[in-house]
């Protein structure tokens, strides 16, 4: 009988349906792989498990964590925080060897995400940060 690893199986049959996304939340068994608390990357404590810290093989966790911290800094401008997020993802993605298409796509997705869903988070974080 021959032993087959997942890697070997993927070499023979190709990867899974989602594999090309290289989507990772950085969570295993309900805790973050990096040992930090939930929400110390992309997403909040409740959304950390499905908002990816890695997309298309690019680690965007630091750009997200900086964005979260700037939201929570009293008096920080939301538009600057959002624009920094997009620029940081673009530059960090480039530094990690991402193509221009891939980096712009990732930055666009996260930029759109904070534009759509960031308003309440910003208000709440400012209330916490200014008290």
């Amino acid at each position: 009988m021959q032993d087959c690893s997942i890697e070997h199986t993927q070499q023979v049959y190709g990867g899974g349906f989602w594999d090309f996304l290289n989507f990772r939340s950085g969570i295993s068994n309900g805790v973050r792989d990096d040992g930090n608390a939930l929400g110390a990357g992309c997403g909040t404590v409740k959304s950390d498990a499905f908002v990816p810290d890695m997309l298309f093989g690019i680690d965007v966790s630091q750009a997200c964590f900086q964005h979260d911290q700037s939201y929570a800094t009293c008096g920080f401008s939301r538009s600057i925080a959002d624009s920094n997020l997009t620029n940081n993802i673009l530059n960090d993605c480039d530094a990690q060897g991402g193509s221009a298409l891939k980096c712009n796509l990732i930055a666009g997705i996260y930029g759109a995400g904070v534009s759509f869903f960031g308003a309440r988070a910003f208000i709440q974080a400012q209330e916490q940060g200014c008290n």
Partner: protein, 198 residues
């Protein structure tokens, strides 16, 4: 599989994922972080405001800490988080989490960072805990003029006096300094001091 099928597969996967993101976005609960309780080996950590993100940066798993050591860190967490916030903001401002007479290094002064440059915390880790003292390192990061992240590590000693934890001194006379971060085989960034990397 031809290019059309590959493209269709990619499009379907992306639309499904983005749809999931949008649907969960209907509940603002997913995007507003009010903090939580984190329980590690029976020890409760209040990952809540104030200083929510400094508390989230505490690396407490994978550090081989006993429940007693975890409890000591849990007790010191509010002081360490407040101290970290003060360092991120300026570094020279007097703070209750600093023992009288203790001198703390300013990351902004060491790295010549203007106040407009946003300094953030990445990880607080490398814990060494005794009854009256806790040592740890803090990794900071900021965006340089070229738009690249710069990572920097310093070390700290907190001491307990009259049941209050406060910064006492640095572990070493110098900070570990700049970090070199490289992606591991899983694609995650791992950072070591430049002095150790060479």
């Amino acid at each position: 599989m031809n290019h059309f099928q590959e493209g269709l597969r990619a499009l379907c996967a992306f639309v499904s994922w983005f749809g999931l993101l949008l649907s969960s976005g209907c509940s603002t609960e997913f995007w507003v972080d009010k903090g939580h309780l984190d329980v590690i080996d029976g020890v409760v950590f209040e990952i809540k405001p104030p200083h929510l993100y400094e508390k989230k940066a505490f690396k407490l798993r994978g550090e081989h800490l006993s429940p007693w050591e975890l409890q000591q860190i849990a007790n010191a967490m509010p002081s360490i988080a407040a101290f970290t916030t003060a360092l991120l903001e300026n570094g020279s401002r007097p703070h209750s989490a600093i023992s009288p007479g203790a001198k703390v290094r300013s990351i902004r002064q060491i790295q010549h960072l203007e106040q407009r440059i946003f300094l953030a915390v990445k990880t607080i880790q490398h814990w060494q805990v005794s009854e009256h003292q806790i040592q740890f390192t803090t990794d900071y990061f900021y965006t340089d003029l070229n738009g690249q992240f710069v990572y920097f590590r310093d070390n700290y000693v907190f001491r307990k006096t009259n049941d209050q934890w406060a910064f006492q001194d640095h572990v070493h006379a110098e900070p570990e300094g700049l970090l070199r971060c490289e992606t591991n085989t899983n694609g995650w960034r791992q950072c070591v001091p430049v002095s150790e990397a060479n």
